[in-house]
Symmetry: C2
Subunit: 304 residues, 2 copies
């Protein structure tokens, strides 16, 4: 699967500690998470300061970095601080740096990939990437944020009209649809093009919507949340990574409901592991066996 988005450095403060600079960015988290299910191919840009050890971490997870462009300048930097309960965060610094001129170009070897995840970047750029794909896309979708929903609405609507799925959080779903009630919000968003919608609810889990049914997954209850940064992106990576790894073809009409449900659970598992350590730390040791073990726990605490 191809993942387009940011590769960045983050400064993060939570009630459990503070890290001034560590590997981050949506594409980083999505790809690391998806790497347990399939081979992700990153399309992103970094500056001359991007460290060898960070390349190595991504390579060790088998991620294809042919589309990770390195250009003069500094890597995107973001810093933020979380509230005491970690349900809110305030941005302290956003330095776009080389990301300001990011114009994703797909290496030829990426263009026939059947799975495309468009991380949260300008909707016009997301559309441009979609147009570069010249194979048979089985599944294309992605993420967006309040900024694009508010100030680039028409552009965003043109973009998601071409998507199979949209993956956003509850406040974004409400903003995009103009409906507070999630059932009504989902109905309106499914009218915008995507046949599949995933609404993330933070600690309360996620809901997958199709025209005729929905599926609700609770959030995993961690004993300690060290750092929620990247949890939503890890959800996306687990969700899409699982579907890509299974070779799911939603277009063919043979969409297996159960595979979509399992993808939501794997997304939830990956989001939960992400929070157990600062930044991407957990992915240095996480194993597929641990993922499958927690998937089993989800079954245990939801079955009746």
């Amino acid at each position: 699967m191809v993942v387009v988005g940011s590769v960045a450095y983050d400064g993060v403060e939570t009630p459990h500690g503070k890290v001034d600079r560590m590997l981050g960015g949506a594409a980083t988290y999505i790809a690391l998470s998806a790497s347990y299910f399939t081979q992700p191919k990153i399309v992103a840009v970094v500056g001359e300061d991007f460290a060898a050890e960070d390349y190595e971490l991504l390579q060790r997870r088998g991620i294809d970095l042919a589309g990770l462009e390195r250009v003069p300048g500094k890597t995107f930097f973001w810093a933020g601080v979380y509230s005491a309960d970690m349900n809110d965060r305030a941005t302290l610094t956003t330095e776009l740096n080389v990301f300001a001129d990011f114009n994703p170009k797909l290496p030829p070897s990426f263009k026939e990939c059947p799975y495309l995840f468009l991380g949260n970047i300008q909707p016009e750029l997301q559309r441009g990437v979609r147009a570069q794909m010249n194979g048979t896309l089985r599944l294309v979708g992605g993420d967006t944020m309040n900024y694009w929903i508010g100030d680039f609405r028409e552009d965003l609507l043109k973009t998601i009209a071409q998507w199979d799925f949209l993956l956003i959080n509850d406040s974004e779903a409400r903003m995009l649809s103009g409906e507070h009630n999630l059932r009504k919000a989902a109905d309106k968003i499914l009218d915008m093009g995507p046949h599949t919608l995933v609404i993330k609810r933070g600690e309360y889990g996620a809901i997958l919507w199709r025209r005729d049914w929905h599926f609700m997954a609770p959030g995993y209850l961690l004993e300690d949340v060290f750092d929620p940064t990247g949890a939503g992106d890890c959800f996306a990576g687990g969700f899409m990574g699982y579907l890509a790894g299974q070779g799911i073809d939603l277009k063919s009409g043979g969409a297996d409901q159960n595979e979509l449900r399992r993808a939501v659970i794997f997304g939830s598992v990956m989001g939960s592991y992400c929070c157990e350590k600062f930044g991407v730390e957990r992915f240095r040791t996480l194993t597929r066996a641990e993922i499958d073990q927690r998937y089993g726990e989800f079954r245990q605490f939801t079955a009746f």
Copy 2:
């Protein structure tokens, strides 16, 4: 099952409308909800203003009113207004009236009942009711609120030490345990006596905790929430009513995990129906078939 608590009149304003005076009170909602699974017996007090039509509604649902004392004075009255998203409410009026001197006395015919639910009243009174039971209690538990947790803590701890289960919302669980994290909060509360804890999370569902496992139920997604008043009490009524109806004996060690899980789902179903109309209105038409149909929906949108 015996239900002790308030029978009241409520004034409620939500974004969907306003009712100046309607039947309410925790014991009312608990008993109406439980009446679909077992025969509830109410222990409560009302004033001379308690209307014949309200007696009739309770009687039509088969509720035993031998313990519904009628005394000189006016019935407990509460009025409140909900926020636009209905996640918060402000109390406008609380007139305790005859409820101020409520000292629950069980009719002889109630004392050997094996199931006792103690609604949210003074912990000392809850203990007094427990002491009046002289049969073999299979299951005793109940509810409390922030006021008793904050100002009557020692009294409350003595009370719940005698209970099999405690049923409270997430903010109350955090206050009672002094832990923000729900796993840690649950561990501490299970150390206080009850072997079973249910934490209600409003629209996000509920979690049942036992020492070695937990079960998470999502909240049902309604298209329209007309009035959330009583939803938590209807959850309690469905939960306890189902266990009583099934004749579950948690004490004997033969506690069937699956029955507890099903009880949480029936509680969730009853809470969701409660919100569909103002006050107790939905219970005028609700059928057991509708309850079973929604139970099936819960299975559909949680199975994977």
